[in-house]
């Protein structure tokens, strides 16, 4: 069995960190069950220049039969969207028929929208579009929950909490929390653990 997840967002939102936490958890889960079948873990990152604000999609894959770094089209079990338009962009191409989309509702308009050249779709349009492809869409008030946890920077961890609630991650909460501890800076740990809890307990916004 393999798990294919894509974390989509805008540069600076922490999508790469979120994907690395999932990958780290997959490695930890395996070391916790010695003797189990060896799985490969891959993260396919798309990030380029240091400029902020670009579209970022980070593919996380683990399991037997995983070799390449990219999720195949129409095969993503889950898309974690830190930004709605980026979630739409990725999920339209990648979400599986019965995939799950966890969608933050806070938009970051691209410059093309800011200058009035194109329209930003409504959240309900995005949700409806992805449901037409067979996906189950959960909308999360991610930024608000992150601020509630202490810092908007913890948005990515709120979304991991919401993703965990979906039940498709093949490891327990302790393992995911351990991965978070290993990857986030010590001084933000408490806020991030709170962010995870708020995400996990969040309701469809």
């Amino acid at each position: 069995m393999s798990v294919d997840i894509i974390v989509a967002g805008v540069g600076g939102q922490g999508s790469i960190l979120a994907s690395h936490i999932l990958a780290e958890a997959a490695i930890l889960a395996e070391s916790e069950s010695p003797g189990g079948e060896r799985v490969n873990v891959r993260v396919g990152e798309t990030f380029g220049a240091a400029m902020r604000g670009g579209a970022v999609a980070s593919h996380v894959r683990f399991g037997k039969g995983v070799y390449g770094p990219l999720v195949s089209r129409g095969q993503a079990d889950m898309v974690i969207a830190l930004e709605p338009l980026e979630g739409l962009r990725i999920a339209v191409e990648y979400i599986d028929r019965d995939g799950i989309v966890v969608l933050n509702d806070e938009i970051i308009p691209p410059v093309d929208v800011k200058i009035g050249a194109v329209r930003y779709p409504e959240i309900r349009e995005i949700k409806a579009a992805l449901e037409q492809l067979g996906a189950t869409v959960t909308v999360v008030a991610g930024n608000r929950l992150a601020e509630q946890a202490g810092t908007v920077k913890a948005l990515n961890i709120v979304m991991l909490g919401a993703a965990f609630r979906s039940g498709i991650l093949p490891f327990g909460e302790e393992i995911l929390l351990e991965a978070i501890k290993r990857r986030v800076p010590q001084r933000f740990l408490d806020a991030n653990l709170e962010a995870f809890r708020l995400g996990k307990e969040s309701h469809n916004a």
């Binding site: 993260v43 220049a49 240091a50 400029m51 670009g54 070799y67 770094p69």
Partner: protein, 653 residues
């Protein structure tokens, strides 16, 4: 503080980016020197080795360009040290002269050349496949299929290099270098090669291609080493033949394409039905392994990314050996295109096509097509408050004083985005449209972009050919100025070319991730250096008209550019404004205080033309608005607005 991951002990399993894996491989191989010029997607090799350094016993530098980095690494290997250099595909072109010549006599200490290609040109001017260049230079070439191999091959490349006395090429791609995977660590070599110089090391005049009896003797020697290299390829643990008894079809693949092939074969239900030769050491071609595959099959499918490199080698080999078989690849039947990157989907389609197997289509494709119209583009922009926005604005303003079709030659760096255009804009391809000054977007200002340093060279050609319909301008960043523009400036002075050269000085090699350069004032390990004075250098090269101005002072920089444009002959304008991301790292600013006064705003959209991503325009209200989350109060839009509608609240009048 947790141990830095590259310092973990042998046996440890870590998630590493491909470039970090290469760096760990260099540590396991006992590197003694690293020299590189940053270039995406290769830069993190150097960055990881800087982070892992911790007062370590290897020397590391960011060199001023790839050719120099290559020569620094080569010099180290001549005196017996293990050295590594890393560059992007285009970087190898810069290093080409020495790269082609060093194999004539080779090396003493192990030398590893890491080149990260970029299929799909995510971060590059071209998709250039550098594997043929390894073959062209006649040196061994590794091509890792994942991060584990990237680490192991880099480590083993030092050994192979010393065994063959040749530099060894490790060819990565974006999907290896910038992807991450689980990597199990091996032990790090404790021993360091001792240093020594022997003018006639095993060969007369070893380090001098002209030394008697001359270059041909060293070329002959190189070919002798290549046959040893072929043996190494035949027995390489990275070259694996998985024959299937009775299978008529065989698949040959290498590098990241092999990982896609493994997935595609499984998806098509072909596991155990086709023979598979996976190559990790692709040059020289392992003839015995290839023979073993070809002798048993009637159809060969070659799956590779980039150029048909393996395919061409195998076609020639099959002809030589008289194998009668159908070869599917990129050259003739085109089961895969020779451009763009491939993936497991494309690989499955290619194999299915060659084997006449049908793949079940995703029935949602029609629906997807409709939904794509909802997906608004997200154009790449310069950062909010970027100094280049100011420089480009000042240039546009200064050019307004001159009639005609001006040519603005761009270069490589963040500022190249001045030529990207916006995805949402519609371009009418016509002669009339080309005479489009004044410009409406900062993202349309550049007319030519090719490679590092090409702008100032091409500008001279345009001017010297007699182009007088407008001004001829070139722009480059500080790192590019040092990397590739110095001989071109001398050329402009020598030939009295009537051009204006803008150096957009932001003090960092920013686009590749803020590496340092001589203009930053510190070295790779953070030690203070003497710095680099661009205006003084330009003057010392003989430029008579040199001006310097602040990129955030629009009138000052407009005036400096205007003076330069009015000068006949080569002129240089240095516009200084440190990279805003670096400024923000040092000074934690609060919420932005820049506001648009709606009463005063006329909706003229002049500020939108600045190109700052923090400026929004409300189409219904016809008013500009500041995106306070992104705005950094740089004051550029305040200066741009002719109605005084934008102000930084609390700032002195």
């Amino acid at each position: 503080m947790a141990k830095y991951k590259l310092h973990q002990p042998a046996g440890c399993r870590e998630l590493l980016m491909g470039n970090e894996a290469i760096a760990r491989g260099a540590i396991e191989g006992g590197l003694q020197l690293m020299a590189a010029y940053p270039g995406t997607p290769s830069s993190e090799v150097g960055e990881a080795l800087i982070q892992a350094h911790g007062g370590g016993d290897y020397y590391i530098e960011w060199s001023t360009n790839e050719k120099i980095a290559f020569e620094v690494a080569a010099g180290a290997a001549q005196v017996g040290a293990r050295s590594i250099t890393a560059m992007k595909n285009a970087g190898l072109n810069v290093a080409m002269d020495t790269f082609m010549t060093l194999p004539y006599g080779g090396v003493k200490g192990g030398m590893v050349i890491v080149v990260a290609d970029d299929p799909d040109a995510h971060y590059s001017s071209t998709e250039q496949d550098t594997r043929p260049l390894a073959a062209y230079a006649e040196i061994p070439c590794y091509e890792p299929m994942d991060q584990q191999e990237a680490k192991d091959m880099t480590r083993d490349a030092f050994e192979l290099s010393e065994a063959l006395e040749l530099p060894v090429f490790v060819r990565s791609v974006s999907r290896i270098s910038h992807a991450s995977g689980d990597v199990t660590f091996g032990p790090a070599r404790d021993r360091r090669n001792s240093l020594g110089f022997n003018k006639h090391y095993k060969l007369p005049y070893r380090w001098n291609v002209y030394g008697a009896p001359g270059p041909v003797s060293k070329h002959r020697w190189l070919h002798g080493m290549l046959s040893k290299a072929r043996e190494a390829a035949n027995s390489s643990p990275y070259n694996r033949l998985e024959p299937v008894e009775g299978a008529e079809v065989g698949i040959l693949s290498s590098g990241v394409a092999a990982s896609y092939t493994l997935e595609a074969v499984e998806r098509l239900g072909l596991s155990g039905k086709v023979s598979f030769l996976k190559l990790g050491m692709i040059h020289p071609l392992p003839d015995r392994l290839v023979s073993q595959l070809l002798a048993e099959i009637t159809t060969l499918i070659v799956i590779e990314e980039g150029d048909p490199v393996l395919e061409s080698m195998v076609r020639a080999f099959a002809q030589e050996k008289g194998y009668q078989l159908k070869i599917h690849g990129k050259s003739y039947d085109g089961i895969l295109p020779p451009y763009g990157e491939i993936n497991a989907d494309k690989t499955a389609e290619a194999i299915a096509k060659a084997m006449h197997v049908s793949v079940e289509p995703d029935k949602r494709e029609g629906r997807r097509k409709e939904l794509r119209s909802l997906v608004a583009p997200r154009s790449s922009t310069l950062c909010a408050g970027c100094s280049h926005l100011g420089s480009y604005w000042a240039l546009r303003e200064a050019l307004k004083e001159h009639k005609g079709v001006h040519i603005i030659n761009g270069d490589i760096g963040c500022y190249e985005q001045g030529g990207y255009g916006l995805f949402a804009s519609k371009i009418n391809v016509s002669e009339e449209q080309s005479k489009r000054h004044p410009l409406r977007s900062a993202y349309e200002i550049l007319d030519t972009i090719y490679v590092m340093g090409s702008g100032i060279g091409m500008a001279q050609g345009q001017a010297q050919a007699g182009y007088r319909d407008g001004k001829v301008v070139a722009v480059a960043g500080d790192s590019t100025f040092i990397h590739a523009a110095l001989p071109a400036v001398v050329n402009a002075v020598y030939s009295r070319a009537d051009i204006t050269f803008l150096v957009l000085d932001n003090r960092w090699t920013a686009m590749t991730g803020h590496q340092v350069n001589p203009n930053t004032g510190v070295d790779a390990l953070g030690n203070k250096t003497d710095g680099f004075d661009i205006p003084a250098v330009a003057k010392s090269l003989g430029v008579k008209m040199v001006r310097a101005a602040g990129a955030y002072q629009l009138e000052e920089s407009r005036q400096a550019i205007a003076e330069a444009l009015g000068f006949t002959g080569p002129s240089v304008v240095v516009l200084y404004g440190e990279c805003m991301l670096q400024v923000l790292r040092r000074t934690k600013r609060g919420t932005a205080a820049t506001r648009v006064d709606e009463q005063t705003c006329t909706g003229c959209t002049l500020c939108v033309q600045l190109g700052c991503p923090a400026i929004m325009f409300d189409k219904e209200k016809k008013k500009a608005k500041i995106d306070e989350i992104n705005c950094v109060d740089c004051n550029l839009c305040v200066q741009v607005c002719s109605f005084g509608a934008i102000a930084v609240e609390g700032a002195p009048e």
